[in-house]
Structures are given as structure tokens and as C-alpha cells.
């Protein structure tokens, strides 16, 4: 969840509530869904919140929300935008992988240290959230005084160009550096460059922004030093590039609202996509940005009442909308419907239901009285769940400790340490006529492996349960014997005949570990279990690499081969540091149905 750092003094100043002490501010923000997480070394309060209201990623946005909360502001607010002077030309050389650009000019800014820090924070937080780590949208903010606009023709407006650059072509001095570097050199040598290199690597041309003096920004990686914003900057050029026009437009709006809240003036820019450049089809090739138009959605009075379970007067609903920073109008017909205006900094209103949530929050969900729904249904367990439960009850009655092991394991544990080879059993060698468990070495099915696992201990799903039981015994050699353990649990193997190409099944596995553990001890218990379920057990001799030769058998239930039973091979015991014999069995749960 996003975290925003806020200077409480700035928040008091921006809300105009100097009288609020720290604790009151924390309480009020908790009411908005911002949870106090702690304080930074330099006294900033950190608040965590759900990633819907990304307009609250800076102190300015949080202050705006608080002013609505306090009732100091009502309804939709849209700052004035002056007509454009600047143009962003989009050249057809812009890489197709990052075709879109937007921006704004901001004049009359007065950036003290705190305001500059807040702006940088907002930029970074937007990168991390909406910008998806700069891949979807990246923001560059420049000192406009240092940009030399190139008029396309005499007397025309100044412009900058978004274009593609040869990775080893033009050079510029990036932020935090002193030398002229090519884009590729930035990726190789500059700290920020190496961090974001994977966003552009492999492209024929890299995204770049030029003015009359040349390359001055290398989005989404780094800006140039020439146009660096300082506390002395009075006029700013904001540009955003990305893979989605709507996303970068909204990010731009959030920045403009934040700067406007500090008294700056927003001035539009023109964005001209050249013939041959990919342009945002739905909006056209010539844009005026920022786009601060309000959105409209309608929602019925009835839906609000049924979803919140409260009877409202229409005026109450409108009041709630306005306190949420929205505007709403309605006509008094039989079915009241609200036309709701949504300000352009909101990124979370995708559906009229989202407006109902805003009404609920403004009304206060705390004020709702819980009620138990008057809906009658019949409850019950599904069959497999009941069967698993009945088998567990029988196993426990036979003296087994019921286990619950991980389903993820490693090939080492699942195969190697049990002396079993992958691909020697199950679906891997089944002929299609017998059940998969009947085929080959029980437990030797092909693994369902995790793509790029992070830990060597968890690289695949277990193909059988017995290795987990033996691992548990290995882990408990310091505890008292006998250790009779069992599990009714999930296993999976690769099987292209299944929907997800994975065959999932449940197994019953038991192990008797004690000084005098024998085949007979395991079979006696298995026999009792089968008797409980009226199942016919036979144990014809078999060979299995985990068990002692001559002391292993197939588990046949009602004539079908469904598992294995035997005394574990001394090599397997020694491998697991076990100093007592272990007799064990495992078979398909479904055989007891």
C-alpha cells in the first residue's frame, strides 16, 4: 500500500487549521483511510492508505481531502488554465513502445525547500503507483527558464520535441553528473541509469526530449542537468511520457492540482502528434493539455439506498456528494437519478458504484446499523471434505498424529532423498487405460514446477505425500518415540490431459516410526482403515526404490492399484538421520469413496 510522508506543519498551513494538534490530525486522517505508520527522522508523519485515491500522494492532495472532510470546501474545484504558448511536437521517430506524451506549463511557482521536496515526493510516488515503476508513465519536471523553445517557423509558438534518439548518438549532462553522456552511457555508468535501464534496453531508438539547444531529457530514465528544478525556479515545464495517454494525463492533472494548491498558475500546452507517429486514437492527434474536464456519471437514488441500506432525502445525497468533492444534480421524477460531476484528479471512479461508496464515506459507514440479512439458505459440506474428515478421524483413532504439510517442496526432497527418479510413474508413463496412480513407481510422476522459483526449498508441488512425512520425522528426532504420523493431503503432478495441465489429487499417507516398526505394523493399521470404509485391501508384492526389497507391496483397494506400502529403505532412513525403522503407506483418498 502506498505511503505518503507529510510535514504536519505544512498540512496545518494548507488546510488553514493551525489549531489542530498532531493527534487530532492523525484521527481526522484515519477517518479518511490514512493510517499513521510512524515518523521519519526529520519529523515527517508517514501515512499508509489504500491505492485508490492516488491524488492523496502529497501533502497538497491530503490537505484538499481534509478541507472537504472539515466542510471548508464543497463540490468540484477545477483550477483555471491559461491558453497555451508552448507546443510539444511528437516526431515519428518516437519509439512505438513509448508513444505518448503530455504536459503542462506552470508559472508563478514559489518553491521553498519543503514545497520542492513535496513535489519530488509526489513525482516518485506517482511513478511507483500509476506509473508502474515508470514503465507506464514517467514524469519530468524542468525549469522552463532553462528550456529554449524552438519555434517551427518565424513568429510561431516555442516548442520542444519528443522524439527517438540513437542510443549511442547525442549526448547531454544528466542530473547528478558532470560529463556529457550518450543515452547508452547513462544506462551503463549513471546510478539512476542502471536502475531503469531495463525499461528501454532493446529498443532501437530511446525516447528523448529536445529543445533548440538539443537533447535535455531522457525519459523514463533521467532529466538533464541544464533544466534542473531548484528553489529558485519560478516557471516549470512538466512533461510526461508513457504507454497510455489517459494514465499520463491523469498523473499530469494530479501534479497540476498540487502546484495550483500552492498558488501557481497552470498554462496549457499543445501536443501535436506528427503524421506517422502513434497517437492516442480516441483523443485525436492534436491535444491541449492538461485536460481538466470533469467526468460525468449517473447513479440512481434507489441504488444508493439499497446498497447502503439507508433511506435518504435527495438533498442529503447531494450534500454527501458535495462533501466528497463531487457535484450532483437531479430532477424530481418518480425515479430520482443523480448526474454527478467528477473532478479530473480522481483516478478511481470507474463505475457509478464508486460514487455510492463516496456517499457512504461522506455519510459515515460508522453510522450504519448492522442487520442480519433475512435470506434463508441451507448449509452443508461437500463430499470430499466430509470424506477427508472421516479418514482423519479413523487415522487419529489408530493412534496417528494428524499432520499438515506444505504442498510446495523441492526435487531433492520429493525424489532424490527418497531414492525415486522423476518421470518414472503416474501420468508420465500411464497408458491412458489405467488410473494414473497405477502406473510405474508410485510418487515418481513428473513435477509441476514453479517458474523461476525464489527459494531452492520450494521449487515444485509435491507428487506424493510420504516425503513430507519423512521430513517431519527427520526434524523431530529429538522428540520421544513412537512417532506415528499421518496426513490426508494434496499432491499434484504434471498431466497434459487435465484442464490446467496439472493433475491434483488427495492422498492418505501414514508412517510408523519406532524401535520395532515393521511392515506388519503399517499393514495392520492400513487394514483397519480399509475396514472402516468397507474397502477390500490386497497387498501384492512390488518393488519400489524407497522401500526394502521384499518388504514393499502395492496397495490394491477394491481390485485397483492405488498406492504403496512397505518398510523404508535403510538408505532413505540414514539420508534423513533416522535411527529407528519406519514402515509407511500412501494411497489415493478416492479409493475409500
Amino acid at each position: 500500500m502506498p505511503v505518503v510522508d507529510i510535514d504536519p506543519d505544512e498540512l496545518r498551513e494548507l488546510t488553514g487549521h493551525e489549531e489542530k494538534d498532531d493527534e487530532e490530525l492523525k484521527d481526522d486522517l484515519f477517518g479518511l483511510g490514512l493510517e499513521f505508520e510512524g515518523e521519519t527522522d526529520d519529523g515527517m508523519f508517514q501515512f499508509e492508505f489504500a491505492p485508490d485515491r492516488l491524488d492523496r500522494l502529497s501533502v497538497e492532495g491530503v490537505a484538499r481531502s481534509l478541507r472537504y472532510h472539515y466542510g471548508d470546501a464543497r463540490g468540484v474545484y477545477v483550477p483555471n488554465t491559461n491558453d497555451p504558448e508552448w507546443t510539444i511536437e511528437v516526431d515519428e521517430s518516437v519509439p512505438d513502445e513509448r508513444p505518448f506524451v503530455t504536459g503542462a506549463v506552470v508559472r508563478g511557482v514559489d518553491l521553498d525547500e519543503a514545497a520542492l521536496e513535496s513535489l519530488i515526493q509526489l513525482q516518485e510516488k506517482l511513478h511507483a503507483t500509476m506509473g508502474r515503476g515508470r514503465a507506464k508513465g514517467a514524469i519530468g519536471i524542468h525549469d522552463l527558464a532553462m528550456v529554449k523553445g524552438a519555434p517551427l517557423q518565424e513568429g510561431a509558438e516555442p516548442s520542444i520535441t519528443y522524439r527517438g534518439v540513437n542510443p549511442d548518438g547525442d549526448t547531454f549532462v544528466p542530473l547528478d553528473a558532470n560529463d556529457e553522456l550518450t543515452p547508452n552511457e547513462v544506462l551503463d555508468e549513471h546510478d539512476t541509469g542502471t536502475t531503469y535501464a531495463d525499461l528501454v534496453e532493446g529498443l532501437d531508438r530511446y525516447p528523448a526530449i529536445y529543445d533548440e539547444l538539443g537533447l535535455f531529457s531522457f525519459p523514463p530514465v533521467i532529466n538533464g542537468k541544464r533544466t534542473e528544478v531548484t528553489t529558485g525556479s519560478r516557471e516549470l515545464l512538466v512533461e510526461l511520457t508513457g504507454t497510455d495517454q489517459w494514465t499520463i494525463d491523469r498523473m499530469c492533472n494530479i501534479i497540476c492540482y498540487a502546484l495550483s494548491a500552492r498558488g501557481a498558475t497552470i498554462e496549457a500546452v499543445e501536443v501535436n502528434y506528427a503524421d506517422g507517429a502513434t497517437h492516442p486514437g480516441e483523443y485525436g492527434a492534436e491535444l491541449v493539455r492538461p485536460n481538466l474536464d470533469v467526468d460525468e456519471k449517473s447513479v440512481s437514488h434507489d441504488r444508493i439506498e439499497t446498497l447502503l441500506g439507508v433511506d435518504f432525502e435527495p438533498e442529503e445525497v447531494v450534500d454527501c456528494f458535495e462533501r466528497a468533492g463531487l457535484d450532483a444534480s437531479y430532477t424530481l421524477d418518480e425515479d430520482v437519478t443523480y448526474e454527478v460531476s467528477i473532478p479530473p484528479y480522481r483516478v478511481d471512479v470507474l463505475h457509478p458504484l464508486d460514487l455510492v461508496d463516496d456517499v457512504g464515506r461522506a455519510y459515515g459507514f460508522d453510522n450504519l446499523e448492522p442487520r442480519y440479512p433475512d435470506v434463508g439458505t441451507v448449509g452443508g459440506r461437500h463430499e470430499r471434505s466430509r470424506l477427508e474428515d472421516a479418514v482423519r478421524t479413523s487415522l487419529v483413532g489408530l493412534g496417528f498424529e494428524d499432520l499438515l504439510n506444505f504442498h510446495m517442496t523441492s526435487g531433492t526432497e520429493n525424489y532424490d532423498r527418497m531414492n525415486v527418479e522423476p518421470g518414472t510413474g503416474g501420468a508420465a508413463i500411464a497408458d491412458g487405460e489405467t488410473a494414473n496412480a497405477s502406473a510405474g513407481v508410485f510418487g515418481g510422476g513428473d513435477p509441476v514446477e514453479i517458474t523461476e522459483p525464489y527459494s531452492e526449498e520450494y521449487t515444485q508441488l509435491r507428487t506424493w505425500a510420504l516425503p513430507s512425512l519423512v521430513m517431519l520425522l527427520e526434524r523431530n528426532t529429538h522428540n520421544a518415540y513412537p512417532q506415528d504420523v499421518a496426513e490426508v493431503g494434496f499432491v499434484a503432478e504434471r498431466d497434459d490431459a487435465e484442464e490446467a495441465n496439472v493433475a491434483e489429487s488427495r492422498r492418505v499417507a501414514g508412517a510408523v516410526a519406532r524401535r520395532d516398526a515393521s511392515y506388519e505394523a503399517a499393514k495392520g493399521r492400513l487394514q483397519a482403515l480399509c475396514d472402516d470404509f468397507g474397502a477390500e485391501l490386497a497387498t501384492p508384492r512390488t518393488e519400489h526404490p524407497s522401500f526394502i526389497e521384499g518388504r514393499a507391496a502395492d496397495v490394491e483397494i477394491d481390485g485397483e492399484r492405488v498406492g504403496v506400502i512397505g518398510e523404508l529403505h535403510p538408505a532413505v532412513l540414514v539420508e534423513h538421520d533416522l535411527e529407528v525403522p519406519v514402515a509407511a503407506f500412501e494411497f489415493e483418498l478416492d479409493a475409500l469413496r
Binding site: L307, V310, G380, L404, V502, E504
Partner: protein
């Protein structure tokens, strides 16, 4: 006089003139030492013997002590290394000597402290001088250690060893020797005991075990049953027990079935379509990146109905309903078909709501599951890579937030958690959404106990559901830790589990 057999045996083995130890008598009578001791105390109660006890000091080498027997005491090693380096003639730099002596870590301080104490030399300004006249070969501490090791190193009788007590104290304070106690019990006949033996004592004919023969023959009528020490501890009988987490799951299932919920089941390995896309999770959502999910190395799932896939795609791209907006995120059917381990059991809810898991469902319905989910997290005392999620949903015409609150209040009340707080929250798949907070039944602490909400129309619409569905989820382990007091979840769940913990966890019901 009649005495039980074992008391008689002890009485006869005891002597009036010598104190005999329990061990000696046990050897002679072929009884276990604890049986002899028990009989002796019984005889003492009768005044026939006296039971005495003597406490002896026992010595045992510690691990550190054993190490020094092999390697030599650190100060001795330092002395020898110093001597080799010529520190008897003139001071040498300490660093070199320490390395040469093979001293490392805390051994360095140990060596320096004792070096000076024993007068092996001196350290001044980082330079070491050794006294050529010192003789570590006769160092009493080293000699004592060697003597202890020669004698076996454990359970040694201090008196039997020819070691100065002050040296033992010194070794004890250095932690090289552990000093313990052993109690030896002795038995001596009293005058009454001698008299009794003179007069003649017979063994009582007692019956040890009640046998089928005794019962059948009726001999039990004349038999005297040997008395047991009924207060003595018995070895704890171990039966099997259902896993503590399963018991918690059973309880949850009981409660939900009682509230009219049907249980769901479904695949652990599933297409991202069912796990995420149906839930209106944008494909570029951070939770869907490589780092959060367990993608499986198998072929994509082909069997997803095309129409359903098209409706879900439409919801993502263009939104649902007249005023709906989609996400401005990329969407591809290939990604939707990729197979992964489910990160939540909401994939089951999606399958049931879509009708693919069985019948088409119309309102009203209640469904639940308590099943395993997989999250790529760091394994620590409160996080597992695999855990159980309680998932539940209610489908009805016109459900309100108040119904949601009422349902969850009722559910948690069954576990003693009251005064639930509903904190407005955001999930991509529900609106409104609430995090549920409740008071820990014992500590009174406010804890998060679940996440809930009403499924968005972008979720229910494409699935063909045109009424309201409210849902919630919660980790079972969280409930279990509350009810069992477990502090490390790994004690409970998985192959690292401690069997003793499972055996001893208190039964909850």
C-alpha cells in the same frame, strides 16, 4: 510378621553394622534401584530400617573445557606462541602472536586475562613480553583439566580426584567445569529390624496382576492385591490427535454450515483468468507481477469459455454498464490463460458464480471454503508461503452494506470477537470495501481480522450474475494463533512442525 516380597528382600539385604547403598542392594536383590528405594522408605515408615542420604559433589567438563583439553588453554597457547616469537628476550607485537597462537574471537580476551593472572608475562601498549621462568606445564588448571578428562570427563566424584578445591573453583568460574550434586541413599537395619529378622518375617502372598485365571478359578476371593503407589506418575499415553489447525478449520466450517453456507472446492493450480482477471484485477496490477505469484511451468489453460473470456476482457477494457470505464491497462488472453498457484480462494468463488463449477446459481445463495492459498512472502513467525484462507460470499437481491456488517458480526461473535469495526477500504474487486478489525479476546488489542466488500459489477456482470454478492476473506492461521496462543506459525504448519507442540497444543472446541 509378614511383609511384601520386595520389602522383605531389602530387609534381608540390609545390614545393621554397615550402611549399604541403594545401588548395592539393588544389585544384590535384582530389583530396580527405584523399587529398592521405595521399599526402603516403606520399611523406614515401619521403623525397621533407617534411610540416610549423602550428597556428593560431581564434576563435569563443559564443552569449552573439553575443547581446551585438546587445544590447550588459550593463555598457554599465547605463552608458547610468545616464546616462539622471542618475547622472552624483548616485547613483540601482540597481533602477530595472537594469530600464531590460533586465538580467535572471545578466546583472545580469555587468553589475555589469564595470561596476566598466571604471571606468564605482561602486556603493555599492545606489546607482549613473556616470563621465561613461567612453566605452563605445571599449571594446576591445565593439570586438573587433563585429570578430569582422563577420568572420563563427566559424573566425576570430586573427592575421588586429587585436585585442589581452589583450582576446581577457578575452573568453575571460568566455565570449564560444571559442578553438580549427586545424592546417594543408604540403608541400615534398626534394632527393630534386627529383632524382626530374628523373629522371622514371611513374604505376603500378594497378587500382582489380576489374571483371567484368578477370575475364572475364584481364587481372587482369597488373594491380597499388592498395593500400588497410586500417586506416582505414569508414562503419558499418546494417542493421535487431529491437527490443531484442522480443528480450527472444523470449527469455522461448523459455524458457517450453521449459518447456511455450502462448501466450495476447486483447483489449486488455476488460470490467472479465474484467479485475477475475473476479479477485475488489472493485468499490470503490482500483485500480478512475477514477484508476488507462483507461476507454474505448464502449458496455458485452453478450456476457458470464449464468451466468458470476451465479457471479462470487455469489462477490463471498456468497463461494465452504461457509465462504466475500463482500466487503462494492457490486457491479453495469453496472460489470462497462464497457470499459477492460486493466491486466494476467490478463484473458487468466481468458478461457482460463473456456473462452471456446477449449476448456474440464482439468488439466494451462501457459499464458503477453508482452503489453501499460496503467496510469495518471506517465511517468518507470522507469514507462510502457503496458508489457509476462509472465503465466504452471500448472493441475494439487493444486499446492503448493513447486511454485510450484520453477517460478519454474527460470524465473529461465534469466536468471541465482538465490537467489530468496519474500516472503509479499497479492493479492485469490491466496492464498497471494508477491512474488519476486532478486539483480541485475551489481550484486548485491536487486530485486523478480515477483508470484505460487495463484488463490483465488473466482477459479477461478466459472470452472468445480476444481483448483489458480498464476500469476505480471512487467514485461518490468524484465528488459530488467537485460539492456540502459538507465537510462531511454523510450529503449527508444515514439515518444520514440532511434533511435541502438536501433541501438547490444548484442545479447542
Amino acid at each position: 510378621m509378614r511383609l511384601p516380597e520386595r520389602q522383605l528382600a531389602v530387609l534381608e539385604a540390609a545390614s545393621a553394622t554397615d550402611e549399604r547403598t541403594v545401588a548395592e542392594i539393588a544389585a544384590e536383590t535384582d530389583l530396580k534401584p527405584e523399587t529398592v528405594a521405595g521399599a526402603a522408605f516403606d520399611l523406614a515408615d515401619e521403623g525397621l530400617v533407617e534411610v540416610g542420604s549423602a550428597t556428593d559433589e560431581t564434576l563435569e567438563l563443559t564443552d569449552e573445557g573439553r575443547t581446551y583439553v585438546e587445544a590447550g588453554l588459550p593463555e598457554t597457547r599465547l605463552y608458547r606462541a610468545g616464546l616462539d616469537a622471542g618475547a622472552d628476550a624483548e616485547p613483540v607485537s601482540m597481533g602477530a602472536v595472537i594469530g600464531e597462537a590460533g586465538l580467535d574471537g572471545p578466546e583472545v580476551d580469555i587468553a589475555l586475562a589469564n595470561f596476566a593472572r598466571k604471571g606468564f608475562g605482561s602486556v603493555d601498549g599492545g606489546e607482549l613480553s613473556v616470563d621465561p621462568d613461567a612453566d605452563p606445564d605445571t599449571d594446576p588448571e591445565a593439570t586438573a583439566l587433563a585429570a578430569l578428562a582422563d577420568a572420563g570427563g563427566a559424573g566425576l566424584d570430586a573427592d575421588a580426584l586429587d585436585v585442589d578445591e581452589a583450582v576446581i573453583d577457578q575452573l568453575d568460574s571460568r566455565g570449564l567445569v560444571a559442578v553438580g550434586e549427586s545424592v546417594t541413599r543408604t540403608v541400615r537395619l534398626t534394632d527393630d529390624g534386627v529383632d524382626a529378622l530374628m523373629t522371622g518375617v514371611e513374604a505376603t502372598e500378594t497378587v500382582g496382576a489380576l489374571t483371567p485365571e484368578l477370575l475364572a478359578s475364584g481364587e481372587w476371593r482369597d488373594a491380597e492385591f499388592a498395593e500400588y503407589n497410586v500417586e506416582a506418575d505414569a508414562e503419558t499415553a499418546r494417542g493421535g490427535r487431529k491437527h490443531v489447525l484442522r480443528r480450527t478449520a472444523d470449527r469455522v466450517k461448523d459455524v458457517l454450515v450453521g449459518m447456511g453456507f455450502q462448501e466450495m472446492e476447486g483447483p489449486h493450480a488455476d488460470a490467472d483468468f479465474w484467479i485475477n482477471d475475473c476479479l477485475f484485477m488489472p493485468q499490470d496490477h503490482p500483485a500480478r507481477t512475477h514477484w508476488d505469484r507462483f507461476a507454474l511451468d505448464v502449458d496455458p489453460m485452453e478450456g476457458i469459455p470464449d464468451e466468458l473470456m470476451a465479457r471479462v476482457e470487455a469489462a477490463h477494457r471498456d468497463g461494465w454498464g452504461v457509465d462504466g470505464d475500463g482500466y487503462h491497462s494492457p490486457w491479453s488472453a495469453d496472460f489470462a490463460r497462464e497457470v499459477a498457484l492460486r493466491g486466494h480462494t476467490t478463484s473458487l468463488s468466481m468458478r461457482y458464480l460463473s456456473g462452471i463449477a456446477g449449476a448456474e446459481l440464482g439468488p439466494p445463495q451462501r457459499y464458503f471454503s477453508v482452503e489453501k492459498v499460496y503467496r510469495n512472502d518471506t517465511l517468518d513467525p507470522t507469514h507462510l508461503l502457503e496458508f489457509f484462507q476462509i472465503e465466504g460470499w452471500v448472493m441475494a437481491e439487493d444486499l446492503s452494506v448493513r447486511d454485510l456488517m450484520g453477517t460478519f458480526e454474527e460470524f465473529y461473535r461465534q469466536f468471541g470477537i465482538t465490537d467489530i469495526r468496519f474500516k472503509p477500504h479499497y479492493n479492485p474487486y469490491t466496492e464498497p470495501s471494508f477491512e474488519l478489525f476486532g478486539e483480541h479476546p485475551e489481550t484486548g488489542e485491536e487486530i485486523e481480522i478480515g477483508n470484505s466488500g460487495v463484488f463490483r459489477e465488473e466482477v459479477t456482470g461478466p459472470l452472468g450474475v445480476d444481483c448483489d454478492v458480498m464476500a469476505w476473506g480471512l487467514a485461518l492461521e490468524r484465528l488459530a494463533m488467537l485460539t492456540t496462543g502459538a507465537e510462531d506459525i511454523r510450529d503449527l504448519h508444515g514439515t518444520l512442525a514440532d511434533i511435541d507442540f502438536l501433541r501438547n497444543a490444548e484442545v479447542s472446541y
